[in-house]
Symmetry: C2
Subunit: 323 residues, 2 copies
């Protein structure tokens, strides 16, 4: 297996990416990593990876056109390598918009797929169980047909990455009753009527309670849900820390629940999910968090490996040809 | 001032509603309350309120047509009283859909208003500061023009209820840059360009950090945001409780941070906001939470009083005639 890594564009610099790669290689000595970036930043990888020099960096705010013009950027060079050498996957923590545009143009959409979707597993109330939500931000709007395709791709993702045999698939809506929802959601309900594992609408209130394996939503709503969730989790954590810092006794109290609080933080930690995948493209394309640290980037590599091993792309191609 | 109360339809029965009314009257002896419901449930209010007997209850799941047929229901009788006697406001904790339909048909929309919006103040990271978000669930979709109207009504609500002189108004979107958003949001950006206090897009991640006084969104997205937020807050609270219950030492720890944890719960407590108002109708229409307890129902009465005192309806009428 060969994975190509764009080592630039992360908020914390190439150092943490290099560290993440080394951690990954320790556990996966049989995987070949091709590291693309400024070669002077990648000396720690010498002898362990193929290193490709690409001096330019894609700025975080870069639009599609700007990315395409940056031919010597680590992102563009890595994408071209993936395509030319038919590698098994690419991982980058660069700008989402730029990465989406560049990979769509370079790799093309799978035949029949109308739009790529950004998909990420979320933590649930059930320890260890994740729920796959898509689209969480590749699109600004989605048609009922696109929502139906997201269900197809999300189901295959859940089966391949989490080994769920018969994923329970829901549509995110503003009420559980049939007929509740935006016009697109209402239409999608009809298209999904006989879809395997389809359970109807789900409300945001219980989206993470563990009943769902896959939740389908348009990219606008999914993004609001993702970011709203992150915002509240952060807010409550900071309130909690404040509560413990009040005085000597509360600090003493903290010593006793420290472990429990750490577990909460880990449950809510989106980093451990290893970033999001761009589903629908001819290739395993993993978008790691912009603020990835070494651990979280290693998790992103794990996700890419798992997706490649399980031939998710072939399965989606097959799935799409049957729709 | 005269407020009419639908005392039925709450999850906890009429008892807590009666209690809420008595608490409210203690603080507001000059307000006249007209209590509508089964008179045998309202004996504690005798001599303190006008009591109107209405034996039927609107079921939680009732649709618009069913509500309209239930002419002897406490909700319909209360709405008719509001209209016929030109009372200052109505409060109910019955079904949102039913209440919306019944009050729209009975009271009619303010001239120029295309759609009523459900509006509620959310807690923010800044202690005591609330942000007004609308629509959070009256509609399944909204046009750019409707979003613009929500901005008008939300601004007047923020000024009247919270005394904010120049409310900072944002559009909820999937990115802060202009041009980011669903097609409706992008159009609304243009309509709001010169709107007083308009600050552009806001992401869900920072929606509650206190920078915004008013956040405008369509009813579908707003509902997903509201419920997602509630879900995560509940989830984290339960994780926290679990952490404290682990053993003797963690229980001891809890004693020390109990006050802080209570403060967190209060900050995140949507009950203290007193429920949501249906904005855009010819009358002060307050929807209390279905699961209202006495305190939360008393808060809903406070909101209705404040809205009536500040002549929000007149201001919206004036505001709409200037659009």
């Amino acid at each position: 297996m060969k994975l190509v890594v764009d080592t630039m564009g992360g908020d914390l610099g190439s150092g943490v990416i290099v560290e993440g790669i080394l951690d990954f290689l320790k556990q996966n000595p049989n995987v070949e990593i091709i590291a693309v970036g400024r070669k002077e930043d990648l000396t720690a990888l010498e002898g362990k990876c193929r290193i490709i020099h690409a001096p330019d960096i894609v700025p975080m705010e870069a639009g599609a056109l700007e990315v395409m013009r940056l031919r010597n950027s680590s992102m563009m060079v890595a994408l071209k390598l993936l395509k030319d050498e038919q590698l098994d996957g690419i991982i980058s923590c660069g700008s989402t918009g730029g990465f989406l545009a560049a990979s769509t143009i370079t790799l093309k959409l799978i035949t029949g797929v109308k739009r790529a979707a950004l998909v990420a597993p979320f933590p649930t109330y059930i320890k260890g169980k994740k729920v796959v939500i898509l689209d969480i931000g590749a699109n600004n709007e989605n048609s009922p047909e696109e929502l139906h395709q997201f269900a197809v791709m999300g189901r295959l993702y859940s089966q391949s990455v989490f080994g769920v045999k018969e994923p329970q698939v829901f549509l995110l809506s503003n009420g559980t009753e049939e007929g509740k929802g935006s016009p697109e959601v209402k239409e999608a309900q009809k298209l999904l009527k006989d879809f395997p594992g389809y359970q109807g609408n789900i409300e945001a209130r219980v989206a993470l309670d563990g009943r769902a394996d896959v939740i389908v939503t348009d990219g606008f709503t999914g993004n609001v849900f993702l970011k709203g969730t992150e915002g509240i989790a952060k807010f409550m954590s900071s309130l909690m820390k404040k509560a413990f810092k009040k005085n000597f006794w509360t600090k003493l109290g903290y010593l006793h629940v420290r472990k429990g609080i750490k577990e909460i933080a880990e449950t809510m930690d989106y980093k451990s999910t290893g970033g999001a995948m761009l589903l629908g493209l001819n290739g395993v394309v993993v978008k790691a968090h912009g603020s990835s640290d070494a651990y979280s980037f290693k998790c992103a590599l794990d996700v890419a490996k798992k997706l490649a091993e399980n031939k998710v792309i072939d399965k989606i191609k097959e799935g799409m040809s049957n729709v």
